[in-house]
Amino acid sequence: MPAEYALSNVWIGLGVVIILFAIFYAVGYFSSRKTASDEDFYAAGFSIGPVTNGLGMAATWASLATFLGVIALILRLQVPFVYLWIQWAISIPLLTLLYGTSLRRMKAFTPASFIRQRYGKPSTVVIVCWMILIMVMYALGQMVGLGQAFELLFGVPYNVAIVVAGLATVGFITIGGMYGATYNAAFQMVVMTLAMIVPMGAIMKAMGSSGWWFPPLAYGDMVPDMIKNIPTFFDMKYDFRWYFALIPAFTLGPVALPHLAMKVFTSSSVKSARWAVVWFALFLGLLFSGTYVVGFAGNFFTATTGRVIEKADQTILILNVFYNPTLVAAFVMGGAIAAGLSTIGGNLMAIAGLVGSDLLGIIAPNMESAKRMKWGYAALGLGGLAAVLMAFNPPRFLVTSILWAFGLLATTATPAILLGVWWKEANKLALIISSMICGIIYIVISPHVLPSICVGSGLVAALGMSGGMVTIPLSFAMFIILSIGFNRMPALKAYAPTLADKQVIDRIHGWGPDYDESRYNGITWPLIISAFCVVVFIWGLQPW
């Protein structure tokens, strides 16, 4: 008999959602009173402390998928998907270590602010276009999920749900700017963690586990029954290449996500940004461990009760309806909505920053701060409205899994940022060529556009793992080799890094007035990295 999700009392669900939105709007309103300049609007005045920022970072990273998609995938793929999810937690620490604090030092609003200073306008347009495409895909996926959640919760048609939920969401995000997005995200992280963890205690108790007092790690006594019913649950299933392929696509991609980087930039200081990362790791680890236990319990539920969860992405909701009172089930749904909203908030702020600050900075570089802030509000509101409109009938290409888009970002933007921060030889023309060519190759060899030309098959191809293992190392190697070549061609002198470009690198690393041409400027290590990338590229081309 299939298990279905349905709240026995819709009004309770409606009450929970109204209370949550009232809080989000209140936070947005009070935040708007603190916003007086573009620094306030895009970076919360560079004033956010470590704990709030750690919560905000974790909330921005944890999307609707944490409550719905990943649990469905654990239900289908079992433990390998847990491993895939674990490594997301290193994205922000790695980002902070490799370039976040450097860009915070230069008071960047987005990673593209750095690209503009380091590589100039044409390269910025290329990177901003890729980032906007990915942010739109991200926000659209969350918006569609939000509409579906409202449809599920209240039984209203999808189009009505998307108008109500979409506009209500865009409203409070637009009012609050980055202050609002950050404080709301911190509150949303608390809501989603409580909604994920606490009800699971009751579910585990009902399932007979003695570890109900700490759901994230104390369900070991359920393991023997699980192995008895699903002997393959803990099998690692795939070969080493599958696990290695997580690094280029899913570790290096999120490193360049502008909405995550922007959270680091809002910190009150470089040191505060690093402390925020410690809190982020603790908060996100708690939430993610909750996700794994729900995935485990979903499998346990189907194996031990004989019930089938037909809509696997509703597992957490079905478990709560089955084992917990209606109010608790409604609160869990509120947690899922909070997860979606925190990510949409980050995505829309990133779109606003990329359009209102980076692109506008190219068109009108001398615009006043107050005027830039107004454009930021306009970009934020219009970006949100565009996401709502597109959610009615989303283009098929844009609703491809966001996991696939991470590979696209790792191919097109990550080399530009990392090599730009750490290597003075990184060349403007080499960046444009490698980013464009490899980005297009990544799209072509995916199963989503031209299925006949595809590297890999099945899940690895759909998620961009096989494609990413080809184009990401190719992009790094191409960028490095072309840079070395172009910098030595007199005809291409205009694209070589200038003294001012190189000085940016020393300055953002904290060297102040001390400039040294030999620093961050060798070619031996970049060539070794290129050679390694070529090996990975060839490995990625082998049949999957």
Binding site: I86, A89, I90, L94, L98, Y219, G220, D239, Y243
Partner: protein, 97 residues
């Protein structure tokens, strides 16, 4: 002095990048060395619980050490920069030109 600071910055960055990759991708080690997939901890198969623990507390501990070390390094860098005379600033020269 500045050569020492530069080398230290590179060393810190490489070490913590590797540590973060190891803690986030520890499941790969169990695939690479299947012999490690033996035994249990708190009732869980070792290859399941260790990556979860490292992906939570492992990353948090690495981040904590990274924060302490990098913040201390920033102080060293700031001390060095303080010793420089403003006339050495090439950006100032560029602006003056």
């Amino acid at each position: 002095m500045k050569e020492k600071i530069y080398k230290k910055e590179i060393r810190i960055t490489i070490i913590f990048s590797v540590l973060l990759l190891l803690t986030g991708h520890s499941a790969s080690i169990f695939v690479l060395f299947p012999g490690l997939q033996q035994g249990t901890l708190w009732g869980f198969p070792i290859q399941y619980i260790i990556p979860i623990l490292l992906g939570w507390f492992g990353i948090a501990v690495v981040c904590l050490i990274m924060t302490i070390v990098c913040n201390k390094f920033d102080d060293e860098m700031a001390e060095y920069v303080k010793t420089l005379a403003p006339e050495n600033d090439p950006s100032t020269e560029t602006k003056q030109k």
